[in-house]
């Protein structure tokens, strides 16, 4: 049941959007937050569990220090203050994927608070930096996963029965919550996307999470409300859950702006509710109403001691933070002698780290950029995966580049080598050999092919001889076709002119 939408431009002309973003990040610790179980993704269901994370009677939590350290580092990277003393709290509610029927979380005493993240967006007036205020970053544990069996949709409605996998239960999570993000105007979708993207970049740089949205290690909820003017008080917000790709973050904001605007204009009120985002259809549907909001009966977790990170520890962690991504971008833009736009392309393709790694391994920056933002980005996009998941390393790209400069490969053949790499056919040289991709460097077969092409089109000989050298293109094309692309086009051209006694 699609809801009425107002055109985006019209909505923005009439209302001022206010954003809020809640991001859950699964930490990449080896063990869970409160027990020694493994956190590796994709194991057989219920094989990474113990009395603690199953919530068996009598079991008690023991805090993962690396989890706390990661939380502090994230807080510092987001310009937050770090609590001198804080506690865990229990968030009580019943749900079968939650072993204890309470989630060990933090409530009014988060480990990090009052920070911000600057993000860059393109506006009609050029690039602009926008400051997203961050309210808090707190620690909590993940829940298990319900699998609804027997239904068509995998959702609970229509399912015959449900299974629960507790492997994920107890994996450390950091929840990062922004303050209401005001003043974005029509750029709300872009700011939202840029924020999540920048956050991902920071988290990846910290090495605290693999931040894979598609595997759920970074999950985003988008809150949105509209108000008539920037001076009006905040409107009622909706919370859209499961917004699990960068593109969807942008689309979900845009969708909610259009939906809210239509409702408000029609004189209907906005219901405070959670909404589910549907990646496939690009719409959100109503979930649980929050008007009779659940009372989580928070209270301090008595089974864990308060956390009081020493200032020395915090300062040590601060001193060892990796370079801020924005600073790094500026540095690399200069070092590689590229434009802001070209840097932006690297960012958008999510390949900055890969290019940097290739360059520091000795690859030419231009060549590295060409491969990662070109062919590799195209294939990744086609397959709906991240570039790094294609598994093509800079060692292999360097080898391809070397073969091109030797004249042993041309661009077309190089792309085929890449296909072979992605298909796992071995290393570059074995693919070249296996697929028979070497450039035909022996002039004999080329001259034969040229003669055949000229014989097929006698008129072109005179045209070229009369000085219209551009006509050579059709002959070269025919030769390339005849040699299935394995000829060096420049050499074909040379040989053709030699043959016709024409000089360029």
């Amino acid at each position: 049941m699609a809801e009425a939408l107002m055109k985006y431009d019209e909505a923005i002309a009439n209302f001022d959007p206010v954003l809020g973003l809640e991001v859950h990040v699964e930490l990449g610790t080896n063990t869970k937050m409160f027990c020694g179980c493994s956190t590796v993704f994709g194991a057989e269901p219920n094989t990474q569990v113990c009395p603690v994370c199953l919530g068996l009677p009598g079991a008690l939590p023991a805090l993962n220090r690396i989890g706390v350290e990661s939380a502090i580092r994230i807080g510092l990277a987001l310009n937050c203050e770090i609590a001198t003393w804080c506690r865990f709290a229990r968030k009580n509610y019943f749900y079968p994927d939650m072993p204890k029927n309470f989630q060990t979380s933090q409530y009014d005493e988060p480990i990090a608070f009052e920070g911000y993240l600057d993000v860059d967006i393109d506006t009609d007036e050029g690039p602009k930096t926008f400051r997203v205020p961050i309210e808090r970053a707190h620690m909590e544990e993940d829940t298990g996963k319900n699998l609804h069996m027997g239904g068509a949709t995998g959702r609970i409605h229509g399912a015959d029965y449900s299974l629960v996998d507790y492997n994920r239960a107890g994996i450390p999570l950091i929840e990062i919550v922004t303050k209401p993000v005001e003043g974005t105007g029509k750029y709300a979708p872009e700011v939202a996307k840029a924020y999540v993207s920048a956050l991902r970049e920071i988290l990846r740089g910290l090495g605290v999470s693999d931040v894979k949205m598609e595997q759920g290690s970074l999950r985003c909820d988008v809150n949105l409300s509209l108000r008539e003017t920037p001076e009006s008080k905040l409107g009622t917000r909706s919370e859209t859950k499961n917004v699990n790709s960068l593109r969807s973050v942008e689309r979900a904001v845009r969708y909610e702006v259009m939906r809210h605007a239509a409702r408000l204009t029609a004189g209907e009120r906005i219901v405070q509710e959670t909404r589910h985002w549907h990646e496939d259809t690009g719409i959100s549907t109503s979930g649980r109403s929050k008007e009779d909001a659940e009372d989580y009966r928070y209270f301090p977790e008595p089974d864990l001691m308060p956390i009081a990170p020493s200032r020395e520890w915090v300062e040590e962690l601060r001193a060892n933070l990796p370079e801020n991504p924005a600073v790094r971008r500026t540095r690399l833009t200069a070092a590689w002698n590229i434009s802001d736009l070209e840097m932006q392309n690297l960012m958008n393709a999510g390949v900055l780290e890969l290019v940097e790694a290739a360059v520091s391994a000795g690859m030419n920056p231009d060549a590295a950029r060409k491969w990662y933002t070109g062919e590799l980005a195209r294939v990744a996009n086609e397959r709906g995966v991240e570039v790094e998941e294609l598994g093509v390393t800079h060692v292999e790209l360097s080898r391809i580049e070397a073969l091109i400069s030797e004249g042993a490969l041309n661009d077309k053949l190089a792309r085929q080598v890449l296909d072979g790499l992605i298909a796992g056919e071995g290393d570059v040289d074995s693919i070249v050999a296996g697929r028979g991709l070497a450039v035909v460097s022996d002039d004999g077969p080329l001259i034969e092919a040229i003669d055949a092409a000229l014989a097929a089109d006698p008129a072109v000989v005179e045209t070229i001889k009369s000085g219209k050298l551009a006509a050579a293109g059709s002959v070269v094309g025919a030769v390339m076709k005849a040699t299935r692309g394995q000829a060096d086009a420049a050499r074909v051209r040379e040989l053709l002119f030699e043959r016709l006694g024409v000089s360029e």
């Binding site: 009677p57 009598g58 008690l60 309470f102 009372d295 009966r297 008595p302 864990l304």
Partner: protein
């Protein structure tokens, strides 16, 4: 070795070391006693005959082998059914966990097994340790061996009764507001609630996490100390466990010297509500301590009268959350799962069927106390009282080395007498609750029988945190004097049980 079941644990160990008796014989003697009297007493929910005899045989072999053994190796024990024990049923006295066999051992159970202590079985208790009489067990009440029509205290009535009935020389209890000490008092046995964090809570099914503490029970002070030293110590699996050396409780229990000590009588823990015969024995003990060279002074703890109210907000709040995991999804009872109902319905029906009325009462109280809008008025306020009570103790311990009071206001009451009146049941713990709120150690030991009913009276000794040894020092001094005054242990005055 005719009367193995009436021997002290320390004497049993000496006899084993001297080759006069084996652990298998001792364990079998206690199993025989259980078979003979537990039909009347009902101290045990599950008897672990084979497991206990196997463990005993293993210890006997080690002893024969000349291996170095723990101070209590081979002495069997009753384990409160609140501790998870691998391969042994663990019900917490609730239908909710009927048939549940934990896949793991509580840390204390691991320590007991490592110490070569055979586990005779799991002892009865009020459901999820909620109660002061063991009448709230879903499997029926335990009877006080001094008078089978009376309660053995609670929640750990099974652990106290098994000692008083000579079914075990040692037992493990847990104490949230008096569940070790009040049962000890009304059965003429000794029980200690250690300093909070002194003994691991890992594997102890939680009632109120910030108050629960596991402790040793026996028929005399030294045995209690020996068991204390077996189970105490830091455990990384319990974040609230204290990482400090265990106080020398055994040394203190052997010393028993109060000369020059300052002992405080808590003014607020006497008078109204305290049975005359209880007060009399208490006053005699004060005189006894003075005779031993201690200086006894009265101290005031003005916030103690609020302890019960604070306790009955904090405990239900924590237990309402701790007991949420009993939902029929992963273990224990499941009711109503006929394929037509939602998971919420099944959870709800399971909880309604599996929990008894006292448990439901406290879950409801706690759920209410933690609700938005009430939190500050109830839970928040109770935590402030808790701080004030801790400050009362701090001030008192600036003046004296230990504090004393009667353990329970009355001797054992009749089964059924207080079931209809929860508040009068709660009042039984009025003297024992303050140390739980402050995280301090407390002991109860027998100081005689009340003249009006000939039932045991307990003395409570309280000490600063991690000064558990003071309890044993004072307790041993009193015990020595009373043994010589009575000409034998208090239980010599108890009636013989039928069937024995």
């Amino acid at each position: 070795m005719s009367d193995l079941i009436r021997m002290n644990a320390s004497d049993l160990v000496e006899a084993m070391n001297a080759g006069q008796v084996s652990s298998v014989e001792i364990t079998q003697a206690h199993l025989d006693r259980i078979a003979a009297v537990d039909g009347d007493v009902h101290a045990f929910l599950h008897v672990n005959s084979k497991g206990a005899l196997d463990a005993a045989a293993a210890v006997d072999a080690q002893r024969a082998d000349g291996q170095s053994l723990s101070a209590l190796a081979g002495v069997p024990l009753g384990l409160k059914d609140i501790l998870a024990s691998k391969g042994l049923p663990t019900t917490c006295g609730s239908k909710m966990l009927e048939g549940w066999i934990p896949p793991y051992d509580a840390t204390v159970v691991t320590k007991l097994r490592d110490a070569g202590i055979p586990i005779l079985g799991k002892t009865n208790m009020d459901e999820f340790a909620m109660g002061s009489s063991t009448e709230h067990s879903a499997y029926g009440p335990t009877h006080n061996p001094w008078d089978l029509e009376r309660i053995p205290g609670g929640s750990g009535g099974g652990s106290s009764a098994c000692l008083a009935a000579f079914e075990a020389p040692l037992a493990i209890g847990s104490d949230t507001g008096g569940s070790i000490r009040q049962p000890a008092a009304v059965t003429g046995t000794v029980g200690v609630k250690p300093t909070y964090g002194g003994v691991s809570r890992y594997g102890v099914v939680a009632l109120a996490s910030s108050l629960d503490q596991v402790g040793p029970c026996a028929r005399n002070v030294l045995d209690t100390a020996l068991l204390h030293s077996v189970i105490a110590g830091h455990d990384p699996r319990d974040s609230t466990s204290i990482n400090k050396p265990v106080p020398d409780v055994v040394g203190a229990a052997r010393r028993g010297d109060v000369k020059g000590m300052k002992i405080g009588v808590v003014r607020e823990l006497s008078g109204e509500g305290f049975q005359a015969g209880v007060q009399t024995r208490f006053d005699e003990t004060v005189t006894l301590l003075e005779g031993l060279g201690a200086e006894v002074i009265e101290v005031s703890c003005p916030n103690f009268p609020h302890a019960l109210a604070a306790y009955y907000l904090i405990l239900p709040s924590e237990c309402s959350s701790n007991l949420a995991k009993f939902d029929g999804i992963r273990f224990g009872l499941r009711v109503g799962d006929d394929g037509s109902k939602s998971v919420e319905q099944v959870m709800s029906e399971t909880r309604a069927a599996g929990f008894g009325p006292e448990v439901i009462r406290r879950i409801m109280l706690g759920t209410y106390a933690l609700s938005a809008g009430y939190y500050d008025a109830y839970y928040g306020q109770a935590q402030k009282i808790r701080t004030l009570i801790a400050q009362d103790f701090d001030k008192a311990f600036a003046q004296v080395d230990v504090l004393i009071s009667p353990t329970a206001p009355t001797t054992a009451f009749k089964i059924g007498e207080k079931m209809a009146d929860p508040v009068s049941m709660y009042l039984n713990d009025v003297a024992t609750i303050p140390v739980n709120l402050a995280g301090l150690p407390g002991m109860s030991l027998p100081i005689g029988l009340a003249t009006e009913d000939n039932l045991p009276v307990g003395l409570q000794i309280m000490a600063p945190a991690m000064a558990d040894d003071r309890l044993y020092n004072v307790g041993a001094a009193i015990e020595r004097e009373l043994l010589s005054k009575w000409g034998g242990p208090i239980w010599a005055q108890a009636p013989e049980l039928a069937g024995a």
